[in-house]
Amino acid sequence: MSVRLTKKQEEIVASPLDAKLFLRGRAGTGKTTVGVWRLRQLIAAGVPAHSILVLVPQKRLALPYYNEIRNPRRKGGAEATVATLGSLSHQIVNLFWPLLAKQLNQHEPLRRPAFLSSELIQYLMFKLLEPQIAQNDYFNSVTITRPRLFSQLADNLNKSALVGFPHTTLAQRLKAALPSDQEQAHIYDDAQTCVNVFRAYCLEHRLLDFSLQVSQFIQQLWPHDVPRAYLTRRYKHIIADNLEEDTPVTHQLLREWLPGCHSALLIYDEAASYRRFLGADEVSAESLQELCTTTYELDATRVMSPAVESLLVEISELMTGETLDAPKRKGETAAAISFTPASRSRFHTQMVDWVADTVAALVQEEKVKQNQIVILAPLMSDSLRFSLVSRLESRGVPSYTLRPSRPLHAEPAVRALITLAKLAHSHWQIEPQHQVKKFDVVQMLLSAMADLDLARATLLADIRFVGGKLLPFREISKNPEMRARITEVFGERFDKLVGWLDAYRAGTPETIDIFFSRLFGEVLSQKGFGFHFSKRANPQNAFDEARIVANLIDSSRSFRQTLDQIEPDTDTGQEYARMVDAGILADQYEPRDWKKSPDAVLIAPAYTFLLSNQPVEYQFWLNIDSQAWTRRLQQPLTQPYVLSRQWPAGRIWTENDEQQTSREMLLRVVTGLLKRCRKKIFVGYSKFDERGNEREGDLRIIFDLLLRTLNQETNM
């Protein structure tokens, strides 16, 4: 790390090896830098890295620590452990589960539990709860999709584990704080019934979803002598970063662990707690200060230029109505902000063009590093992402995206493999709407066969897809004109695919993951087929497509292995295809090289960028009229504030609370983004939004006020 430390940072880093330190401060003041240097200092002073635990709320926040661990100039030896509550609880439950076997299921005490991925949780909820929902007319006034409904049920269970209350009290807590109409009360009761059913099923079948994994760790194994001795004897030095983004049970764990540690560094970011919707609790985080011998505060920004800092003050004052005791540099603020010019702010596409042009100018004319630019929106839709990526690409600027997972079936490669799986398993019972149709065959052929065009793919599907089966091209004897139009080259390839499917059908069916893998290796990645690695202009595309197939195979293997344990008679292939069709299964695998920041412009939702905690020089804020900057996601089955440890029993959530939290949320997002900006923000505004509607969002109003203020300053 080439950063030079301030005197105060040096003082903290050089604290005695047995010091327990609480370090607080705003974002961008160099707290994580201190954490990384403290890690280095401990190891240099002879502390075995093996005894150091770096605890973070999510692993992306540990990136600076990973970089230090992978620093080739570091001292040799063991490695410090980087963990989250999730990874720690997974590890401990996985290792020590025989000690809690009887809590899980007394009838079958010693069979290893299965950890459920979020996809498997969705599947099991679909399988288990869907019939009950239909039969009992649960959630009849809720209009969200099934995957979202199930994810809110899982979220409720996770809150109970992470905040630390019995899952059986969910509805009671929600109803007590949100006593609206009778209908809403029914929804909470329905949700309670569903989570109870799901939890009972998991216990009976020794299945651990995230919430059960965490609660087994916290409630059963952490108090147990053997695992506790392992953890506390091994990890004598703890560095916990971004405490404010972590949950009350993590804080409780630290509260019990710290007294026996040799040293600790607890890092707390003020005015953040962006993961509140995931159970983050800044109040319980801050309470850990009392366990530390020394508290330090860093207040000088190491990120923002004076102009950005001045902008931050102006905006904070506008948003809070308070006058801050902080530097404002008249005339300088304007240098830190730029707005879409009037000539390019009528339509959304004009604004997106302006963003792409401005980014290209920064990179190509001002020689700004690509990874020092981010483009943010409160929500990043597929269409906005595509518009940005394609415009940047056409201007020679590489970009990459961070965004929540999307359904597996949204990937053309996945749809092609699912279509082929259905054609190869004619005995599967498939609902009529998901049976293979000519359109699916055309799309499959376009993915599966190299260089095939839409016209030929359509011809092949027209004449060779008969009665739900693909027939060989070579058997077209009476229509030489058709053969010529399709061409013998494509005909041969088609026949190879059909021949492979026929041979497969004649044998014993494989498991679904092995089917996909064989098909990929034996046909689809061979010469002439869609996944073949030829010396393409961009070989990375071939790797990216293969990675999607690899993720599909991993997902289907995990699905098969878990389902074999609990429902050995189920045809896992058919079930898997059904779940992909229903959009239940999502690609939630790590993006490639997540530990490395690519040399490209980042396109991401604003919260995702905030949670990666990596400052950049330039930020583009898009869609400032969107309500999503201020509104919580619609979550009719849950409520993050009410299910928090800080919510007083008996207090009722009011409209005033809703407005106050919205204002507070916007303030935190805006100030959090600015604190992660070194030089300038560009505000992307258009009169009409993506859908052609005219809106006026809260963030736009603030920028209007800011513009007025800046103009007054200029005119003075």
């Binding site: 490695e79 025989p98 990645s525």
Partner: protein, 269 residues
């Protein structure tokens, strides 16, 4: 291709480079996942791997203090029961109660990092150190094992990065022994380190790391038999069908093949 600054070598990477530089490039430099089958008997291979992982997991749990009798009750598979019984007998006679399971050590070497992930490292009563690698695949001959990168890397990394296990003092090479323990027989094949061997092995590893760092072309292996069990087969245009496990003969062993039942991923946070 230039190696990333934080590139960390492991024995399996070096083995891959030795066997097929192109496979090394694809797997570790280009990070290319290529999800083709490695063998025609995929489920059999998976079952073998799972059994091996299960055994490693049991040994790990045992080393961390889960009582042996509790663990014994968790074993359903007959082979695993036999391996476990052999393990309990062997470890009682050869390992102290305090041992370091699933230990990762990393040392700087030739401007890179070299990492070793050990199944177990133990400090014995006489002050010497024993590295144990559990092998659940077919037993291997000493000569073959001697040629494996693992045999080269593990002792060197412990000698250079294990001082914290030795009260902060460097471990003398003569006090390091590597034992491959075979579950099929309950026997070990041992390799002792000496100062001279450490010097030579370190020089060989340095030279290998430097030659990889200097490489711009990564050639495909000349031994196309390796390709039968390699998932990149179709990418390299080296065939369509994966190899048969039952065609593996004594001479093949796991050497040089991508397929290795003993290649157990360590469990990490």
């Amino acid at each position: 291709m230039r190696l990333p600054e934080d590139f960390t070598f492991s024995q399996s990477m070096l083995q891959d480079f030795t066997d097929c530089p192109r496979r090394f490039e694809l797997r570790y430099l280009l990070d290319a996942r290529w999800p083709a089958q490695e063998t025609a008997q995929a489920l059999l291979y998976e079952a073998g791997q799972q059994k091996g992982q299960e055994f490693h997991h049991l040994a790990h749990q045992h080393a961390l203090g889960v009582p042996a009798d509790v663990l014994t009750e968790t074993i359903a598979d007959d082979d695993l029961k036999i391996w476990w019984t052999r393990y309990l007998t062997w470890q009682a006679a050869n390992l102290p109660a305090e041992r370091f399971p699933e230990l990762t050590l990393t040392v700087p070497l030739a401007d890179s990092l070299l990492m070793a992930k050990y199944d177990v490292v133990a400090k014995l009563a006489d002050g010497s150190f024993l590295i144990v690698d559990w092998k659940t695949g077919r037993p291997q001959k000493r000569l073959r094992l001697a040629d494996r990168m693992q045999t080269l890397v593990y002792p060197v990394v412990l000698a250079r990065g294990g001082d914290w296990l030795n009260d902060g003092q460097p471990i003398a090479p003569e006090r390091i022994r590597l034992a491959y323990w075979f579950a099929e027989t309950g026997e070990t094949v041992d390799f002792e380190l000496t100062a001279e061997k450490l010097r030579k092995d370190e020089a060989r590893l340095t030279s290998l790391l430097q030659s990889i760092a200097a490489s711009t072309e990564f050639a495909k292996t000349e031994n196309e038999r390796h390709c039968c069990f390699c998932p990149y087969r179709s990418l390299c245009e080296r065939g369509e069908l994966p190899g048969n496990l039952d065609e593996l003969d004594e001479e093949d062993g796991p050497d040089g093949l991508s397929l290795d039942l003993d290649e157990i991923e360590e469990i990490s946070f």
